[in-house]
């Protein structure tokens, strides 16, 4: 099927715009960037159509393009592995990616470095597609590191601003910590299986017994992969980079830091489900990390006032749900939520971007309010997305989240379910808080004084240079005052509408049988993710009595599932009512409550001071150690002290040398020769003896 064309299309776009884009008009730059992405999406759709027609024995469809590197017995190749999982990922990446490219044309209209932006964005598409389509772990790692690079470049896009450059660096380095774990996992695979090719690995891993009695190789591999995943997918303890990553342009936050890149960890865990199925402890760790992250991030999201920060913590929290799903072996649920999340969270960011764009760079929700009058389309799109993430039926997020929670309960993970359902209520609360604060009540942004307290207040004046002239996020007005809030251009609104539609209907591919649906996604992904290993059937042929018993059990289970669905909905509604009461009915209350909570409130507002903790525990000691002990102590003091001392004070020597340079070298050479003779004599003597 020539699948290699799909990732290479955006790469070509990135290369052309990156090398020549400076001389192109903006129209040409957008045409190249959008054209290559659209072509990739179109081809992905065509491939999907072909894929549906493939007989089951030809799945996975593997294409090989040659050896990348080989040493001794180990080799890794360039190749593509297309199965249901990578197909879904490919469609999400190219589809949502294309929509966000379109949106960017409007959003970045007034920004300097236009070609640079689109070149980076296309580069991201290339690496993300490499990540999901690779047919071996090493090539996945290429995409894995590559999306980190694109993320670094795009977070730091406005690099004149120190906070943006800092955030980019932080993202890259934090991800590298995770990559360290991933690398060790790869080394373990190489050491014990001799290969990283999926199609060679699966049968080898499939032969391994489940490590229920004691942790072993696969548990170690699984835990190390989890370390990698916590970096890329912003889970505890490596989540700290994602909130800062909001320094990047908002479409980037939507594409990379919500819809696609951050889900790479989930994809990796799902891709490696054979490992986790055999390593229950590792799977448990995935579930625990995910659940804890979900509630932890949600609690921070409740008090944030920066609209993008709320969404960032919400992303971390939702990713936690996906990890929880994978950890309780409901990989389909995890991927299902990944897909719907790509729709509604991408939409939430884009709509937030539309708000920020309409307000000339304002990101603080305290300075918003009443915007539904000014940005009606954005408001409605945002409403769809909010209902979706809050878990209100029949929006997309409801179905996927509910499937995960049900999987947790029915799998016997009661505590995880409880935390999950509490988090669902918190999610609904903080999302409707955002919704009410932004779109309802009175517009609070007219007062220029409060407006200056906004997120970008410390940014330097715009218009510094020609190339990258604007350091402020969507500072469309460019210095002279910004008028009343206004709706965004069509090029931005249409992608919002498409995503809004998907946020509604996107969940209908996974309506559970209990609700009278067919759960298509379960059937589609099932062969890859639910089955343990193709050819290893876990089910014996059932007798009729067993069938009847199973049906009766299934019926009971359906009733239970309905009950839990009811609980989910109730919790979501509860969150809505709470937000309605506090931020619509009695908007003066939250401030009082915050005051009453006192230190606890500021502690949560300061994100539990985790950044400060990491700084004090890791970064500061490391710098002090390197500087005082290593460099000044060992290098300068100990080693050079010894060297200089033995050379009879090299500083004086060097002073002398200035006058009689060559003579001294010669005399030293003489000493060296004498020393050599002594050593030779010693060795000859030793040898003779």
């Amino acid at each position: 099927m020539h699948l290699w064309i799909i990732p290479l299309l955006p790469l070509a776009g990135a290369a052309i715009n990156g090398l020549l884009g400076k001389r192109f008009s903006r129209g040409l730059v957008s045409a190249i960037a959008l054209g290559s992405t659209a072509a990739a999406f179109a081809m992905a759709l065509w491939v999907a159509a072909q894929f549906i027609g493939l007989p089951p024995d030809q799945i996975p469809h593997i294409e090989r393009y040659g050896t990348w590197l080989s040493a001794g017995l180990f080799s890794a190749e360039f190749g593509i592995y297309l199965d249901q999982l990578s197909l879904v990922m490919m469609l999400v990446v190219t589809g949502v990616g294309f929509l966000i490219h379109v949106y960017s044309v409007g959003y970045m209209e007034h920004e300097g470095g236009y070609y640079r932006y689109f070149s980076y964005l296309n580069l991201f598409m290339f690496f993300m597609l490499t990540l999901v389509l690779a047919n071996n772990y090493l090539l996945m790692f290429v995409g894995w590191e590559g999306v980190g690079l694109a993320s670094y470049l795009l977070i730091g896009f406005w690099f004149l601003k120190k906070s943006a450059a800092d955030a980019g660096k932080k993202a890259f380095i934090t991800n590298r910590v995770g990559d360290f774990g991933f690398l060790i996992a790869l080394f373990l695979l190489i050491k014990h299986f001799g290969t990283l090719q999926y199609d060679s690995l699966w049968p080898l891993i499939g032969k391994y017994p489940a490590e229920t009695a004691g942790a072993g190789l696969l548990t170690a591999i699984g835990l190390l992969m989890l370390v990698g995943a916590t970096g890329k997918s912003a889970q505890i303890p490596l989540y700290v980079w994602l909130p800062d990553a909001m320094e990047g342009p908002t479409p980037v936050s939507a594409l990379i830091h919500a819809a696609t890149m951050v889900t790479a960890g989930v994809y990796m865990v799902a891709r490696s489900h054979l490992v986790f199925n055999r390593a229950p402890d590792a799977a448990m760790a995935v579930a625990i990390i995910g659940t804890l992250t979900a509630i932890f991030a949600a609690s921070i999201g409740i008090v944030q006032t920066d609209i993008k920060k709320v969404l960032a913590y919400s992303t971390i929290s939702q990713l936690g749900y996906m990890f929880m799903a994978c950890g309780v072996a409901d990989y389909v649920g995890g991927i299902f939520h990944l897909v719907t999340h790509a729709f509604f969270k991408g939409l939430l960011f884009l709509a937030a971007g539309s708000v920020i764009h309409g307000l000339g760079g304002e990101q603080d929700m305290r300075n918003m309010g009443g915007l539904r009058k000014y940005l009606p389309y954005t408001f409605w799109c945002m409403t769809f997305a909010t209902f979706a993430i809050a878990g209100i039926p029949p929006f997309a997020g409801f179905f996927s989240k509910d499937q995960i929670l049900w999987a947790a309960w029915s799998g016997g993970y009661r505590v995880l379910w409880l935390i999950g359902i509490i988090t669902a209520g918190m999610t609904s609360f903080y999302m409707f808080r955002l919704w009410f604060l932004t779109f309802f009540g009175e517009y609070r942004g007219q007062n220029p004084e409060t407006a200056r307290h906004g997120h970008d207040a410390d940014a330097q004046p715009a218009g510094h240079t020609g190339a990258i002239h604007d350091a402020q996020d969507a500072h469309a007005g460019g210095g002279h005052g910004h008028g009343a809030p206004h709706e965004s251009p069509w090029v931005m609104v249409v992608p919002l509408m498409i995503l809004a539609l998907l946020s509604l209907v996107g969940g209908w591919i996974g309506v559970p049988q209990a609700l009278g649906g067919h759960n298509e996604i379960e059937h589609f992904l099932g062969p890859v993710l639910a089955a343990d290993f193709p050819g290893v059937s876990r089910l014996a042929v059932p007798t009729s009595a067993q069938v009847a018993a199973a049906e009766a059990a299934a019926h009971r289970e359906e009733i239970a599932e309905l009950l839990f669905t009811g609980i989910s909905v109730a919790v979501a509604v509860l969150g809505f009512l709470g937000a309605w009461f506090l931020y619509y009915k009695r908007p003066e209350l939250p401030a009082k409550m915050a005051k009453a909570a006192g230190g606890l409130y500021t502690f949560v507002l300061d994100k539990y001071k985790v950044d400060e903790l990491y700084g004090a525990v890791f970064i500061q000691p490391l710098i002090a150690l390197s500087s005082t002990v290593f460099w000044k102590g060992i290098d300068r003091g100990l080693i050079d002290g010894a060297v200089d001392g033995s050379a009879a004070g090299a500083r004086e020597v060097s002073d002398e040398m200035r006058h009689m340079q060559s003579g001294n070298i010669r005399s030293y050479a003489g000493w060296v020769a004498i020393g050599a003779a002594a050593v030779i004599a010693f060795m000859v003597w030793r040898g003779v003896r």
Partner: protein, 527 residues
């Protein structure tokens, strides 16, 4: 063709020297001298490309051999030959030389003729080191690199150049003496300086008293090479030499001269003393890993960019030593590959630093900030090369690093784990430095009107950038010939390696620890 094949190494070695001699008779017109030096280096590069073209892959032993008696007493032969390892180091040298000439175009204004003569003599000596198969000849070339390099630093450097030059000279000279002693001992017992002869005599046990002396002989070679690499704690000459050296000197120092050390370890320490290599591997690996982490951490806090990059060499060369002493195919392949890719990346980094130095005459990071705005092309090249040095996949650095770490992990898991922290450190020091130099607004008025790279500078950077990319995407172009050569080297002590491998079962100590932790959590949750 036979005529060329049997003389090509001599041609490649002595073309630069012939050029240097011709330069002696040149009038002191700077332009002509530069163009002539460039032409000589290009012709040498072309001639050296004959080697990969006609190398027979998979044929073990040395190729393009030349072996004629040079001096009867003592029995010294003019014996040259290459395999897949040394060939690429020769190409690395000849490939970098034209760029070094270009980079010195304007920065050397004084005593231009002498400078290019020294450079060309240095090239001859460096190539000689990689192709000599007679230990005396090798030692001759080895020492011959010292003098031009010390003079380049001492005459054309800046700041405390004399101190740096003397430190460089003495450090390496003293260390080399130990190697000379070992070489003479071997000659006294075998009657030959020939590497291949000595190797086979040692292996067949014909060298009297070898068992007693083996450790000292090993150490004699090792000290000379370890200083050159440089291996912790023998590295302190390197930052000083780099900081004060002129750009071309730094490029060759980092890209080629350091590789002479790792090449020597691989060829001579492993080739002549396999058993000693195995015995001493643990502490050598410990030093290498210390070098990886220590070099990176010290690099991170340097206030001087050039010193920072110099310390990264300590870190990167630690990977090479680790790969060599992992005694695994993949690790040693990776070590050789890392030698080449470090030559490209760090060579390019020093060239880039030279370009900014020509404009601002300082390496102090505090003097910079916001450079990306006036110099976008420069910033882009810098970012690209930086990423290749950080080890981003699809660029050259990743391949070598990955293979070395994989090999080290196979040898002993702890080695791989400790060394793999290097992927975190390298991102720390380079990204932080990049941010401080390039990002933000310009705070120093001296930087506002810096001009971006001109055509000559771009021409000297493009080949390196392309090489970094090609080496990352298509490493098989190199590995095809490196792999068999490394396999041949490994075969030399396969029995030793097998014994070694039997001692390293796949223990999973860490998993136990993790398991206990997980179980504790599970009990809390009540699964």
């Amino acid at each position: 063709m036979n005529l060329i094949n049997s003389n090509i190494l001599t041609i490649v070695i002595f073309l630069p020297l012939a050029g240097a001699i011709l330069l002696l008779f040149f009038p002191r017109r700077h332009r002509d001298i530069r163009y002539f030096a460039l032409a000589v280096s290009l012709v040498t590069l072309l001639a050296s490309l004959h080697l990969p073209w006609y190398l027979v892959r998979g044929q073990s032993g040395f190729q393009f051999e030349e072996n004629i008696p040079w001096i009867a007493h003592p029995n010294i032969h003019y014996h040259l030959g290459i395999d897949g390892i040394s060939m690429w180091l020769v190409i690395l040298t000849t490939f970098l030389m034209p760029m070094c000439v270009l980079i010195s175009w304007n920065s050397i204004g004084d005593r231009v003729k002498e400078f290019f003569i020294l450079m060309l003599v240095l090239e001859t000596a460096m190539i000689g080191v990689f192709v000599a198969l007679d230990l005396f000849l090798f030692y001759f070339f080895w020492e011959a690199t010292l003098i031009p390099m010390a003079l380049i630093i001492g005459m054309y450097g800046h700041g405390r150049k004399i101190y740096a030059s003397v430190k460089f000279f003495l450090y390496t000279m003293i260390a080399s003496v130990f190697m000379l002693a070992a070489v003479i001992w071997l000659y006294a017992r075998t009657g030959t300086f020939d590497f291949v002869d000595i190797q086979s005599k040692i292996q067949s046990g014909q060298v009297a008293g070898f068992e007693h002396a083996a450790f000292w002989l090993f150490l004699g070679f090792f000290v000379a090479f370890a200083v050159k690499v440089p291996l912790f704690p023998l590295h302190t000459w390197l930052p000083d030499a780099h900081v004060e050296a002129p750009t071309a000197g730094s490029v060759l120092l980092a890209a080629v001269l350091l590789k002479m050390g790792t090449y020597g370890l691989l060829r001579f320490n492993l080739g002549l003393f396999p058993d000693q290599s195995r015995r001493n591997a643990p502490w050598i690996i410990a030093l290498a890993i210390i070098g990886i982490i220590y070099g990176a951490l010290v690099a991170m806090i340097q206030p001087n960019i050039k010193r920072l990059v110099a310390y990264t060499s300590v870190s990167h060369l630690g990977f090479v030593v680790l790969g060599i002493f992992s005694f695994t195919q993949i690790g040693m392949d990776g070590a050789v590959y890392q030698m080449l890719s470090h030559g490209i990346s760090t060579g390019a980094l020093f060239m880039l630093l030279g370009m900014i130095y020509e404009r601002r005459h300082t390496y102090d990071i505090g003097e910079y900030g916001g450079i990306a705005t006036p110099m976008p092309v420069y910033a882009t090249f810098f970012a690209f090369i930086m990423l290749s040095s950080v080890g981003l996949p699809l660029l050259n650095g990743f391949i070598g690093e990955f293979m070395v770490l994989s090999g080290a992990f196979q040898a002993k898991q702890l080695y791989g784990i400790l060394a793999a922290t290097g992927v975190i450190w390298s991102a720390c020091y380079l990204l932080w430095m990049y941010q401080r130099v390039f990002y933000g607004t310009i705070t120093n008025p001296a930087n506002t009107s810096l001009r971006d790279l001109d055509a000559r500078e771009r021409v000297s950077l493009w080949p390196l950038a392309i090489a970094a990319l090609v080496m990352g995407v298509a490493p098989m172009l190199w590995l095809h010939s490196i792999d068999p050569a490394v396999a041949a080297t490994l075969r030399q002590f396969s029995s030793v390696v097998q014994a070694h491998a039997a001692h390293a079962p796949g223990s999973l100590l860490h998993a136990d620890f993790v398991r206990n932790g997980v179980q504790a959590v599970l009990q809390v949750i009540g699964r």
